[in-house]
Symmetry: C5
Subunit: 315 residues, 5 copies
């Protein structure tokens, strides 16, 4: 369920993006609140331990560790690696959206080339458009968890009217263990649709290298592990610089958490836009819309063109 | 009303971009002055409170907080995240402009292929071009607030001569709840125009992930919240380093505000270029221009080619 | 007059780019020397005022201001915003170059399809190629100051042999207030050429958002305003750290000026490459070259193909 | 063997990318553990030497060196150069994947244009598809170590049924010393396939400039060489700041190692995706899949289209 | 002579890119050793002067200057501007490679469309392919120093069998002063080849703006000029912080030199890839390869297709 807010940001007025901070669905709060709670709890546990459990000598050791952690946490270039990584993920995300196949072009072509108002012609037109939709659904089943849940078996596709029992039989009779999303394209020679599906398949198959994702994750997580200790409030009596005001909670560290982990969440949401995140592509909606529009285009709308009349500016 | 200043920057002379600082329409001042006023007022209120309201002990606490805020405000990588985010928004903005459909190609094709000087041929040519424009306006109505305000109902399109009452009836009779911008393309098989409209529709539908926008907004706003306290002038008698000169207003913090929030405003303006900002695409102008040019192309200009004569360099 | 130095950098030998520093035309010195002089003069005026005009107390105040300015100047992320902005401008600059229309393809097509050696065929071929060139010049007139100066009125185009008086009459008789560069394309159905011209027109119409340019300019200018005070040499007797060596001129600040304002000048030069900067596209040369090459291609060169003979490696 | 984890990151739930840290195949641990061991051993050797071998004066010298190294290691902009370099490598990596030739389009075309159910037609269809696959395998043999190991000689291609002995004879009889991957394309005029192969050949031939790779490698390695000494724990009795807590192992330096060298490993893995890394393209799988699918498409599937019947939404 | 090392980096094993550091051809050492020697010599001269020539007072002045230079050298954002500039140069470099014209497609088309085994047909086929190669060589002569050295006059092209004397006569008889690389394309209507050549011509004509290159060069050179003084070892007796260990040579400054100037060398090498650097495109090899392959394709290989036989998987 994609979160659309184009209308809210049409004009750059007072506040501008500020209004966007007040939304829940698809928001950073909804994505982050659990991680934030866990981080806060761990922080408080350490804080309580330091304040009430440790004895003097242990406190001194803890203070040294805190200063050490704080100093070295700065060395982790979190924003750098996140900037480059998220840019990459976003460009793949848009590339995936551009690879989503639409049946619209084909319905116009089918309507224009398979002529005739009799049942035979209508059967051909509708069947061809069904193949187009079927090919899309087959690829969605293999990449989108939402579509897969809707059609857990191929039998569901038959029940949903996307394929006939005979077509399913033929598809399954095909002696190949590879993904068969392209088979309906063979029944109708749909090469450009097939290329779109192939691209989606490739994006799904060739993930961003695991190492890159791990490097980024390690950077962010280790930064906040270091902060857990390094940003503890230390006994002001020891006179450590910057430790003279006790906020109980480290407001700015929580802001940083909000900020960096939120940035990482952008990547987590976009890296596979065919899941069920608030902001993922609505594949099931696409399936319905495409079937409806394409059957409509070659069915009811076939050759139903408005009568031409003179326009307002004729003379 | 797009702000065009290409002519002003044709030559890189003395001052160069400096002249651009003296404009109001579409300028950073016009976009920012309200936010800047609010920030300044809040800053002054805190400043007055610190100077005249708080007692000695409260002042000491406030000073500690100010130093704390100042130190941690530095940790928020505002310029980093803005750089990457604005680059992304700008590339989408240009992508959207490149998806704006122009009827020019089609008017040449219609003029070249629908031959005949009689009224029937003229009717076809003009009707086809009207469909082209209608399709564009239908998509604009759903993405551009300016065009929507101009044509709040479909009836307005009929009155404006963009569609006939009969066409409207057919369009509304169509049993589909999805956006119908593509229907006039079916009446005329306009596949490339349809793709352009589809792209605009997609850009409108698939916003940049809300989380990314929120992360950036949180970064900028929390930075300046921290600055509100952290950049207060503190009593020089306390000997805090860097607090020995009282400017009453924090000039450089205001400059930073100008700079960072201005950068964010670039994103706010561009993220949906179909609004009514000074710098948004002039969709209404486009509607008028396209209708005029396309009716002209297939009407008056039909087959009116200048007589050929020898050019100046003939021999 | 584009500055071409490809040949000078063909090999990465000793010094390499160093040789490029010794050029004047299109160089950073030529673009910057006036700004640099102004900056130096203002700096010296402030320096003289501080050294000879101010009394002791005023000096102390000035010193505080200088230290304050120096500290906060660091906070302006000039290199960051310049890096992203210039990258954007450079990509638009190259996009504009790639949109420049060339008549070469069309001259080959016209030569190949409008067959016949008699005068009638020759007239058609030359007229068609003239239309191609005319369309280009019409768009250049509206975006390039250099071409506009050369052809200040449409009459000049007739005198230059780019259009006939009859064609001009028809063009002007057209009842449209919009840019008419596309009209010759209608006389000949030149859709790909028309798209190229349309792109140039769009780049000219849709400038980079003014706010972005202003943000960058404000950042650079305010940085150097802060430097004017902040980089003054202060009385060593006061013992300010880093103020124990009097260079009279702040060499490194001038270097930074050279560097940052030079980077901004890159943007100023490229943001509209159709002006008359040293490094702008040579539109007038293009007009001449294209007219000559296209008339030549369909005129003298028509069907003049060398006699075929066996090549050297025949056996 | 590409590492696909799209399904694991479909939803951005609690932990998100955290789960990915627990994988071994294709992981950062598998790639790094040897380098990490070597680094740790060298670090420990230096540490032992400093603690137990050196005398007092030598210790003082070592301490000075450590502080010196630590200070200057900061000056190496490792994250900067890695960010730009890896971005470049990633874009080439995806460009290479997009150049991988697929026979799918061609099998549909061959099936649609080489008509006839008799053996002669079948022979043509299968032979043409075999040429398509052969061309792909020839280019893989020259760029992919995995495919080369599978088919060390051209004779192996004959045994694998990808070419006939006669075809091999003709190929070898060709008097050219250049790569002959394009020859089967000549037998069948496969220009788009040939372009794809040519692109793969180009990516293989034109590596990223060696100097760029060396600059990045030197930056990373010299940074960690400096760290080997600079991050040693120094005798706290000497009172060096930041040296009051002895961890025996420098946890944060190891984290940095993990992080920076991991980032470099991303580049090492992607710079040639046709090797045998865990995350390289599975060229051998591609060879098998393509041969099977293309023979199937023009063989068993030829003209076997399901009987058309009314769909579920007929009325 | 392009330096290809794809095979060496096929697998990301232990060491990985480390092996690449041991190469000489095309390496950073080969490009840099002269600059490094000059820098080291200048450094040593200053060092000797400071240690043995200057008297006490002069030494104090020198020390102040060194500290001043060291402090301000940090302000030059060398890595920032290099990162953006090199990214730009690399993208142009690859753009240039993608514009290199290949005759392969055309040879397949010529072989497929100019039918006939007699001498006349063969003459046409070979002549057409020769034109293709000739057009490429003409553009190389004007952009590549290596090809220009090989064919210093047009007469050399005749001797090399790339054009006949008659063709040269016609080419020279053409009354145009502009580059004539496109003339052979007119003899044969080669529009896509012509576009490729035109692109190469444009890249050569429209260099990156000189100012940008100068800005980058000034940044790098002035940084190291500042380092020459600022990184001198100062008398430890004066107690300057960080000056207590005398290395005689500033190891880390040399590393930085290696690193930054190496990065600049990447740009120097790539900015014109048609020179004679180790890593430039091998244009002469291209000329030979293309002529051989294209004559072969339409000559010996004409209609020599292997006899079709059943493949291994027939049943």
């Amino acid at each position: 369920m994609t979160v659309t807010y184009s209308r809210r940001v049409a004009d750059a007025g007072l506040g501008g993006f500020f209004h966007l901070l007040l939304r829940w669905r698809g928001s950073i709060y909804k994505l982050l609140y659990r991680e934030l709670l866990i981080f806060t709890m761990l922080y408080c546990m350490l804080s309580i331990m330091y304040r009430f459990v440790l004895n003097g000598e242990q406190k001194r050791l803890f203070e040294k560790m805190a200063i050490y952690c704080d100093r070295y946490a700065e060395l982790i270039p979190v924003s750098f690696v996140l900037g480059f990584y998220v840019t990459l993920v976003v460009s793949r995300w848009w590339g995936q959206f551009e690879s989503v196949p639409w049946p619209d072009r084909l319905s116009a072509l089918v309507g224009g080339h398979v002529r005739g108002g009799d049942e035979a012609a209508r059967l051909i037109r509708r069947t061809l458009m069904r193949y187009v939709n079927l090919s899309g659904v087959l690829i969605y089943r293999s990449i989108s968890t939402a579509v897969y849940k809707r059609f857990p078996t191929m039998e569901h596709l038959v029940q949903a009217g996307l394929m006939t029992a005979e077509e399913l039989r033929q598809l399954e009779a095909l002696p190949s263990s590879h993904n068969k999303f392209w088979v309906p394209c063979m029944w109708f020679e749909l090469n450009s649709l097939r290329s779109q599906c192939m691209k989606l398949y490739s994006y799904d198959w060739i993930s961003l290298p695991l190492v890159y994702t791990q490097v980024v994750t390690v950077a962010v997580y280790s930064f906040f592990l270091a902060c857990l200790i390094g940003r503890q409030f230390l006994d002001p009596a020891q006179g450590y610089p910057g430790h003279d005001l006790d906020f109980y909670l480290p407001i700015f560290t929580l802001l940083q958490f909000f900020f960096y982990v939120g940035w990482l969440k952008v990547a987590e949401q976009l890296i596979n836009p065919f899941g069920e995140d608030d902001d993922d592509f609505e594949t099931n909606w696409l399936v319905d819309r495409n079937l409806q529009v394409s059957l409509l285009s070659v069915g009811e709308m076939y050759d139903s063109v408005p009568v031409m009349e003179r326009d307002k500016y004729w003379n």
